[in-house]
């Protein structure tokens, strides 16, 4: 018996070590490279710690006057605008819809609900080409609006699903009390339900934001110049050119992953609950 407990604990330590190494080594290596000079990064064998840590790569990217740093700054602004706007619209619209699905009965409810959820089973890329051509006809290719519209349509079903599942966990009795007190349903939504549903809203917000941040193929197609290209597209272009030193590229990579990494670590509880909500029952 004691042997078995010992073995189980030892196996767990192996698992823990694996998770840590698996998740962190690649990220550590990128940060390590980004803190070295080009000559240091090229040395054989490699430096496992930066011999003379320097932030020059970061200051070049964020403060420099060169073409690359200009691109990085513009695309950082772009990605914040696009992800922020898409997240805001998605969360507002999905909360309203989820409230109707969770708490009201109306004609076409089941069909619409399933219809929306069914779009999640289809790979998003199915609609890439027609979206590009339709948005092109409306003059929306290479605009923030076009990209935001596509993101919202892509993430609405999941956000609605997360909000719907969260609202279901809240006891209807609380709202019924509010309704009895003479408040309208929207007042109840705003003053009673929304504060209680805050964890669900945070889940939907964080997950939508992270999904928008990781987008690549859609903005690659839908933005045609630097005015709308998000960081991910610019980074891939820099990687493809082979002229940007690996140290600078690593620094650009660290800048791109900093925001989602901080969010993921800080708000991981909401991500887990949102992603898992209702998927395993």
């Amino acid at each position: 018996m004691s042997l078995r407990v010992f073995r189980r604990v030892r196996v767990r330590w192996l698992g823990i070590a694996f998770i840590l190494l698996w998740s962190l080594v690649p990220i550590y290596w990128t940060i390590n490279t980004s803190l070295q000079s080009e000559a240091q990064a090229g040395s054989k064998p490699a430096h496992y710690l930066p011999p003379t840590p320097t932030v020059r790569n970061y200051s070049t990217l964020l403060g420099g006057s060169g073409e690359v740093s200009g691109q990085i700054r513009q695309s950082t602004a772009n990605i914040f605008v696009e992800c922020g706007a898409a997240t805001l619209v998605t969360v507002v619209l999905s909360t309203l819809a989820a409230y109707a699905f969770a708490r009201m009965t109306f004609r076409g409810r089941t069909a619409l609900f399933y219809g929306v959820l069914a779009t999640m089973a289809f790979p998003a890329y199915t609609t890439l080409i027609p979206l590009y051509r339709i948005l092109g006809d409306f003059g929306l290719v290479n605009t923030y609006t076009g990209i935001v519209l596509v993101y919202v349509s892509g993430f609405l079903p999941l956000a609605t699903w997360i909000m719907y599942n969260y609202l279901l966990t809240l006891p209807p009795a609380i709202e019924e009390a509010g309704l009895v007190d003479g408040a309208s349903r929207l007042q109840v939504l705003r003053h009673v339900l929304l504060p209680l549903a805050l964890p669900g809203i945070v889940s939907a917000t964080v997950i939508t934001f992270l999904f928008s941040w990781t987008q690549f193929l859609f903005p690659l197609v839908l933005s045609t110049d630097q005015s709308t290209e998000p960081l991910t597209v610019v980074i891939a272009a820099l990687q493809g050119q082979h002229v940007v030193p690996s140290t600078l590229l690593s620094a650009a990579g660290v800048i791109t992953i900093a925001v989602p990494a901080v969010i993921a670590v800080a708000l991981n509880r909401y991500i887990v609950s949102g992603l898992v909500s209702g998927s395993v029952k």
Partner: protein
């Protein structure tokens, strides 16, 4: 009930507001019509080369009031961007690359403003022999800004270090010399071939095919490289063998031409680029800030089957896309960019400060003469010999309108052969199949 109505109005309001906001950004973002303004405007220029020196651009801004925002994108991505923006009728840049290989297609699709409406192309033509490559009927799709052609570059010091005294004149000698450089340990992998699946690999094969004494397509666009004895077949075999036998750095499987391989040559990790771009010695390998092999690299007439081979011409042009915001300002920039004095400066006439990195030979004869007269054309004697013997077009019958798909088949299959997942025979067969299908119009 009243409060519920107000709430309903609130929801409607929020929805309307968000729609309005979206429409507002839509209007500000796109769809603005072209402007003829030139003073105080900023134009976007997107080319596959670095920007001219800051001081030169500043001088242009001072004299015209036009600010230039420069974007340097690798050639392959740039072509995708041009096509994507043109099909969606969206703005992409005010002036951008017009490649000789796509002129037929571009004219058919009307993606660019006809240049003769903006620039006096007729009088320019006398000084720009390459203009014909950018003209279809009466329409000039773009103005050539260089007279680039393909040629061989060698690191003479490395050849000397390997004990090679006479420079190679035939492919057999050239290959033997490279083997010698490798076996003497001067460099591990002396030959630079950009084996990444990209346009530069196709271009390299065209030049190697010319070296083996042939052309890729006949005047009807049908393949001429299918038999094992043909020049195209031999060229493909030679390139792939060079990779397999270690003459080419193994990492080159992921390297493109203009950026990757030229950097390797400039860093002195390879001894020769068989199909390099004219002008690179002066504008790249001899520039101390970007090279460790200053004064070591020279041009060599491409070794051929039985003696020096012809050079293929590979000029680059610049044009104005239909969706340009400031076509008139863009035209002013193009005039400046292709002016004889500026081209001479880009090529190094006025010193390294005014040189445009990787710029090749001026497209204006008067600029070439100026450079040659002052003795500032690096490798002038070699270059002028090659120019005098005349460069040849890649496709004698002009580039077919289906060129992009053909080139795609060339580079993906040659790349696959280099990785060993296809035989040379299989690669040639696949490329020929594509060419036949495209030429027959199905």
């Amino acid at each position: 009930m009243l409060s519920e109505r107000r709430g309903v109005r609130g929801v409607v309001g929020v929805s309307l507001l968000s729609c309005l906001a979206l429409v507002a950004t839509a209007c500000s973002g796109g769809g603005s019509a072209a402007s003829t303004a030139t003073r105080g405007v900023t134009i976007n220029v997107a080319l596959a080369i670095p920007s001219p020196p800051k001081a030169s651009l500043a001088a242009f801004t001072k004299s015209t009031g036009i600010t230039v925002h420069w974007t340097n994108i690798d050639w392959d991505s740039l072509q995708t961007k041009i096509a994507a923006a043109a099909t969606a009728h969206t703005y992409f840049a005010d002036a951008t690359d017009v490649d000789w290989s796509r002129v037929g297609q571009l004219s058919k699709l009307k993606w660019f403003h006809p240049m003769q409406n903006y620039v006096d192309t007729k009088s320019l033509a006398a000084d720009m022999p390459q203009m014909t490559s950018f003209t279809v009927g009466k329409e000039v799709v773009g103005v050539p800004f260089d007279a680039s052609f393909l040629t061989t570059t060698v690191n003479k010091k490395m050849f000397a270090d390997a004990g090679i005294t006479a420079m190679p004149r035939t492919m057999a000698q050239y290959t033997a010399d490279l083997r010698r450089i490798r076996s003497k340990g001067v460099v591990d992998h002396p030959l630079d071939i950009p084996f990444a699946a990209a346009e530069g690999l196709s271009t390299y094969w065209y030049q190697a095919t010319a070296a083996f004494g042939g052309t890729v397509l006949d005047t009807h666009g049908r393949p001429r490289f299918t038999s094992p004895g043909s020049a195209g077949y031999k060229a493909a075999q030679w390139m792939v063998d060079a990779m397999r036998q270690g003459l080419v750095p193994p990492g080159n499987i992921n390297t493109t031409d203009s950026q990757g391989t030229q950097t390797e040559m400039a860093k002195g990790t390879v001894a020769s680029v068989f199909s390099d771009y004219s002008g690179n010695v002066g504008s790249l390998y001899d520039v101390p800030s970007s090279s460790t092999v200053v004064k070591q690299v020279g041009y060599l007439a491409p070794p051929g089957a039985g003696g020096p081979a012809p050079n293929l011409s590979n000029p680059d042009g610049i044009g104005i896309p239909q969706a340009a915001k400031y076509p008139v300002a863009a035209a002013k920039f193009i005039k400046w960019f292709t002016a004889a004095d500026n081209q001479a400066a880009f090529a190094g006439l006025d010193g390294p400060d005014k040189t445009l990195r990787t710029y090749s030979l001026p497209s204006r004869l008067s600029a070439v003469h100026k450079l040659a007269a002052k003795g500032d054309l690096v490798g002038a004697s070699a270059m002028s010999t090659m120019l005098a013997s005349g460069t040849r077009p890649v496709f004698p019958g002009g580039a077919p309108s289906w060129y992009p798909q053909f080139s795609n088949a060339v580079y993906t299959n040659l790349h696959a052969a280099a990785t060993g997942s296809l035989s040379v025979k299989g690669a040639i067969k696949a490329i020929a199949g594509t060419a036949n299908r495209l030429a027959s119009g199905s």
